[in-house]
């Protein structure tokens, strides 16, 4: 981190002080201290002594001091602007894994032009900006960096070169800041190209973005959004994105739909190809293959008639050949034919832009794949051969000649095209020769499977399935803790003998009216006459009894309600001795309207949990109700929800209530069924 003090211009107070006789020496001392201006500091102190020792020197000191302050101020102001322009003298390290090195930085007018002109579309038609224009713009850019605009009407704005804030009138500025505020929110309103360029300049300078990487993404986004309506942006952004990546050491990327803009043998192509150096097999997009080749594939009629097929086939053929090449030589195509050393080239960056780094030149070190003769030759032959094969398949007349390709590579291409099209093509046919032999091939990828091993695997997998099955999932651990009561619901297994304890549990869960009905049945062995009011009570008692003892407890036969099974003694005992209080449990769901899984699930819930579930299903804002139930039993709402979810996870295989801390929602899958079963 730079520990040097930041230089800054003095404020209004010091300015006023600089013209006060007898005190103006203080302003010189101030400016000297804050900006490490030794001469101003020494002079300031000297003038101070003179004033203190002899009051008659005040007019002289005032005159000299004022002039000196003015000169120092102007010089400092100039230096500050210079610093702003060159605040990034070299590429900034962002720590990204990049495919190039910047070995030198220079001003554009101080270095000889490279012999070869780069393949730029932003050429010399745009005159370089004047220094003062750039300085003013950068100063304004920092001033307006965070300005937000409120909604105003659109104003047209157009300049020939270098649109700036100062070129805008106040209405245009108002629109610009409103439009930019919307852009920063992700709302891309339509506007004039000049406005977009001003915003792009800001992003190119790293202004208005969290960091450089996000700035790069914003540039890509803006380009993608506006390029359709503003095609003028294409040549600029195509270059500036690369400049931005180079200048700030970012990984160079290009939106996929912009790949066709890449020129043949361009630095952009080289850097993007380098990104694929690790592909196994090599999978280059068609545009990058085209950038390597001298041969102009896009001029072919086959290409214009079958663009998609052609592009896909070429990419895949390169992958197939790369794979075949690796098997034979242990190296991929790029390693075998590509450059072994980096190339250095100068690049004028941010041409036509007003931003930090404009007017600079970078010496870039990179792997120049598209200018490596061996790779260019190989790719030329490869694509020509592939085109011949495709011509044959698609019934096009004429073949490309002068193809030099080894027979293994031809075989690999033929074999691949056979698999994709169902035909094998003789490798000798398309080296410009005759083309007549086509024959069917048998499946070259027949698998040999060991069915004894498969049978063993089936058994093993069954064992794994059993090992991973957790019975009574979610039961809280009570062994290791003395102080926490197990608050999870008790679970019953369906596979046990019915005993007194289970019946006690059943009776405890019964609602008031169920309890009453049971007592009356125990009192009269012949049963109780069935009335319409008994129907819901019987159903609810049976839901609980299903979950507790795995069977119904009550039935109606010939208009009489009867106890099922021989539990009279046990029930009498339980009712008379073990239960001091009768549960006030209410029934919230009509089990007859539920499927088996939900019936089991509801049966597992306590009365309070059922109430909570019913409240969530039934009430618009159940929070108060849930809190009330939780308070009643001394627990917390979220704990209740968790308990219900745990029971659901065991019986339904997944949670049933989704929560975002504020609201609760029963999962859609069970919502309707449960809601329809609520007893109002």
């Amino acid at each position: 981190m730079n520990s040097r003090r930041t230089r800054k211009l003095p404020g209004v107070l010091i300015f006023v002080l600089s013209v006060v006789p007898g005190l103006n020496w203080i302003s010189l001392v101030y400016i000297g201290v804050h900006n490490e201006e030794v001469i101003s500091l020494i002079c300031g102190i000297l003038y101070g002594f003179m004033v203190l020792i002899d009051g008659r020197s005040i007019p002289v000191v005032w005159l000299i001091g004022t002039i000196q302050y003015a000169i120092t101020y102007i010089v400092l102001n100039y230096r500050l602007h210079e610093n702003q322009l060159s605040s990034s003298n070299g590429p900034l390290a962002t720590g990204q894994d990049v495919d190039f090195e910047i070995t030198a930085v220079a001003e554009q007018n101080r270095v000889n032009k490279p012999k070869k002109r780069r393949s730029s579309t932003v050429d010399g038609h745009v005159p370089p900006p004047e220094n003062y224009v750039l300085a003013n713009f950068i100063r304004d850019m920092h001033t307006y960096a965070n300005r937000k605009g409120s909604q105003v009407d659109f104003q047209t704005f157009s300049t020939k070169y270098y649109p700036t804030y100062r070129d805008m009138d106040k209405h245009q500025q108002a629109w610009y800041f409103y439009w930019r505020s919307e852009i920063r929110k992700g709302n891309y309103l339509d506007t004039d190209t000049s406005y977009i360029l001003v915003h792009i300049y800001e992003l190119l300078s790293g202004v208005g973005c969290e960091d450089l990487s996000s700035g790069y993404q914003q540039l890509q986004r803006i380009w993608s959004v506006y390029r359709k309506g503003h095609p003028d942006l294409d040549p600029y952004l195509h270059e500036w994105l690369l400049d931005f990546a180079l200048y700030y050491n970012l990984k160079y990327e290009l939106p996929e739909d912009c790949l066709p803009l890449i020129g043949k043998h361009s630095m952009q192509a080289d850097l993007l190809i380098h990104e694929h150096r690790a592909d196994v097999p090599l999978f280059l997009p068609f545009e990058l293959i085209d950038a390597i080749c001298e041969y102009r594939m896009k001029d072919s009629r086959l290409y214009s008639d079958n663009r998609v097929l052609f592009e896909e086939a070429i990419s895949q053929v390169v992958a197939v050949v790369d794979r075949s090449f690796r098997e034979r030589t242990g190296k991929g195509l790029l390693a075998a034919y590509g450059p072994t050393e980096r190339t250095e080239d100068w690049r004028d960056i941010f041409r036509g832009a007003l931003c930090k780094g404009a007017n600079k030149r970078l010496k870039v070190s990179f792997y120049a794949y598209t200018k490596t003769d061996s790779l260019v030759d190989f790719m030329d032959n490869l694509v020509k051969y592939t085109e011949n094969v495709l011509r044959r398949i698609n019934g096009y007349r004429g073949r490309l000649h002068s193809i030099s390709l080894d027979s293994e590579t031809c075989d690999a291409i033929n074999s691949f095209l056979e698999r994709t099209n169902g035909y094998e093509l003789s490798s000798s046919l398309y080296l410009g020769g005759d083309d007549s032999t086509i024959r069917r091939l048998k499946n070259p990828y027949e698998l040999e499977l060991d069915f004894n091993r498969i049978s063993k695997l089936r058994e093993e997998s069954d064992l794994v399935r059993e090992a991973l099955f957790v019975d009574g999932a979610g039961d809280m651990d009570t062994e290791g803790t003395q102080w926490v009561k197990d608050i999870s619901a008790e679970h019953s297994s369906s596979d046990y003998t019915i005993n007194r304890k289970m019946l006690a549990s059943l009776v405890q869960e019964l609602p008031q009216d169920g309890h009453w009905l049971l007592r009356s049945l125990l009192a009269d062995q012949s049963g109780k006459s069935f009335t319409a009011a008994d129907e819901i009570v019987i159903r609810s008692v049976n839901v609980i009894s299903q979950s507790k003892i795995g069977r119904d407890l009550l039935q109606v036969r010939n208009g009489v309600v009867l106890l099922v099974g021989d539990f009279r003694d046990e029930l009498n005992y339980v009712l008379s001795s073990q239960l001091p209080e009768i549960s006030s449990k209410r029934i919230f769901f009509d089990a007859s309207k539920l499927g088996q899984k939900l019936k089991d699930f509801v049966g597992e819930l306590t009365s309070d949990q059922s109430e909570v579930l019913s409240a969530i299903l039934n009430e618009e804002n159940p929070n108060g109700h849930i809190e009330e139930v939780a308070s009643r039993i001394g627990t917390l709402p979220m704990v209740m929800i968790d308990e219900i979810n745990e029971i659901a996870a065991q019986s339904l295989g997944d949670i049933i209530i989704e929560t975002d801390e504020i609201s609760y929602q029963v999962v859609a899958e069970f919502y309707e069924e449960l809601k329809s079963a609520i007893i109002q």
């Binding site: 390290a93 720590g95 894994d97 495919d99 090195e101 050491n249 150096r277 690790a278 196994v280 097999p281 999978f283 895949q316 992958a319 794979r323 390693a335 980096r342 698999r419 994709t420 499946n443 990828y445 027949e446 698998l447 499977l449 060991d450 091993r453 498969i454 695997l457 089936r458 997998s461 794994v464 399935r465 991973l468 099955f469 957790v470 999932a473 809280m476 651990d477 009570t478 290791g480 803790t481 102080w483 926490v484 009561k485 197990d486 608050i487 899984k597 308070s631 039993i633 001394g634 627990t635 917390l636 979220m638 968790d642 979810n645 745990e646 996870a649 339904l652 295989g653 997944d654 949670i655």
Partner: protein, 444 residues
């Protein structure tokens, strides 16, 4: 023998696998082979439940099913009533590093804290509330207090002190007690700011001790180099409140291997060593760590874990015995790529699940599965790079087509354009390898 898969499980399995995502439930129905590996990991869970600690590296090539296995154990652990936390390492999330890289991992772990009732994470508050509800109920039962009684607050506060006294010997013990108490006070008094401050502290979101002191009266905050100490304490806490322990699942260990700076990388390996030693030497209890990584991440002697001598000696000697299974006593579980036979059984299982999901009988038998497999191995790069994820996705797509278009034959659908040759995904590890081998002079 029936499949045992329920309709609900089948639905979830088919939907998530079709999207290329590891399902949350029902994984055991498609876990093929891996018996020894799963047995070993389940024995780790038993060790943790018994009060010990566990540390396992799950190592395998790209597409060998590391994440799947991790998810199987994570889900199973939740069903066994463990608290689980998982995080994927990334360039921004490491075990330690200047700039809060380690703390970022801790925050991710706490954000993904899950229990059976909250399987998708965000269970921190649930755990705290469960603790407080239990204490509150206990006090109410014992003392006969009602919710509105003022004495209840004091009584619960002293209960919290009682619990945390057991933890005060550990680093963060006192601070944790204060934070837990602050959460309770905030909850009881309806002071959501105080409650949120307590949660913020637990999530490691305080960056200044002064701020934490002002808001919660605690002297310590969770920091980049101490988050692991807090996890050790937290594991004891969750055990105390009725869970079986804390399991930490860390995926994508290869991101440590990719750290370009050697010193930064070794700092992370040192952290692994600390955790490893703690688990082996009994300094940590009721906690298990499961870290996945590629073969290179572990065995590469230039920049993998084996480049760190102390770890190499521990991992290669195979002397730490915390598994009951003699074949899997090593801390490293190596996953081989699925064999064609295993893929065959996997596809067979998928047919069964698909049948349950859509309540029908598929026409696909052994012959068709074999044919499908032959078609996928003919893909570009399939010999090395085709992963079970892609195979499953395509197979399910084929099953769906067959179900929806019974008039078409299996052959015609298999050779439809939809299943035409396409490239397999590239192995991300190769990028690192190629970087090293082919372009050694590449630098930044």
């Amino acid at each position: 023998m029936g499949t045992g898969v329920t309709k609900r499980e089948a639905d979830v399995l088919i939907k998530t696998l079709s999207a290329g995502v590891v399902p949350r439930i029902g994984l055991r129905h498609i876990a093929v082979g891996r018996k020894k590996e799963i047995d070993a990991l389940l024995s780790d869970l038993e060790s943790v439940e018994a009060g010990y600690a566990a540390f396992r590296f799950i190592c395998g090539q790209y597409g060998s099913g590391k994440s799947f296995l991790l998810q199987v154990i994570r889900n199973n652990a939740m069903e066994r009533n463990f608290v689980v936390a998982d995080a994927d390492l990334s360039p921004e999330r490491r075990l330690t590093g200047k700039g809060g890289y380690g703390l970022a991992t801790y925050r991710e772990l706490m954000a993904n804290l899950a229990i059976l009732a909250k399987p998708e994470g965000g269970a921190l508050e649930s755990i705290l509330q469960r603790c407080i509800a239990s204490l509150q109920q206990r006090v109410m039962e014992r003392e006969g207090f009602k919710l509105e009684d003022r004495e209840l607050m004091v009584a619960v506060e002293s209960e919290i002190k009682l619990i945390t006294e057991k933890l005060t010997e550990l680093p963060y013990g006192f601070s944790f007690a204060s934070v837990l108490n602050a959460y309770w006070m905030g909850f009881k008094s309806g002071n959501s700011e105080l409650r949120q401050s307590a949660l913020k502290w637990l999530r490691g979101e305080y960056t200044s001790k002064t701020e934490a002191r002002q808001q919660l009266h605690v002297d310590r905050i969770i920091e980049d180099d101490t988050w692991y100490d807090f996890l050790k304490l937290f594991s004891l806490f969750v055990k105390e409140i009725g869970f079986k322990g804390l399991l930490v699942f860390i995926d994508e260990g290869v991101n440590l291997y990719k750290i370009p700076n050697r010193q930064a990388r070794e700092k992370n390996y040192e952290k692994i060593l600390t955790i490893f030693n703690d688990t082996m030497q009994g300094k940590a209890r009721y906690i298990g760590f499961f870290l996945t990584g590629t073969v290179k991440f572990i065995y590469d002697e230039r920049r993998g874990l084996f480049s760190y001598e102390a770890l190499q000696s521990r991992l290669s000697d195979n002397q730490f015995h915390f598994s009951r299974h003699s074949d899997f006593t090593s801390p490293i579980i190596k996953l081989e790529q699925l064999t064609p036979e295993e893929i065959f059984v996997l596809l067979e299982r998928l047919c069964e699940v698909h049948e349950v999901c859509y309540s029908y009988k598929t026409k696909i038998g052994d012959k068709e599965i074999k044919e499908f497999m032959e078609s996928i191995v003919s893909r570009l790069g399939a010999d090395k790079l085709l992963t079970p994820r892609e195979i499953i996705r395509d197979f399910l797509s084929l099953l769906n087509e067959m179900k929806d278009n019974p008039e078409y034959s299996f052959e015609s659908l298999l050779h439809d354009d939809k299943f035409a040759v396409k490239s397999a995904e590239s192995d991300p590890e190769d990028i690192v390898l190629e970087n090293d081998n082919q372009f050694t002079d590449f630098d930044i």
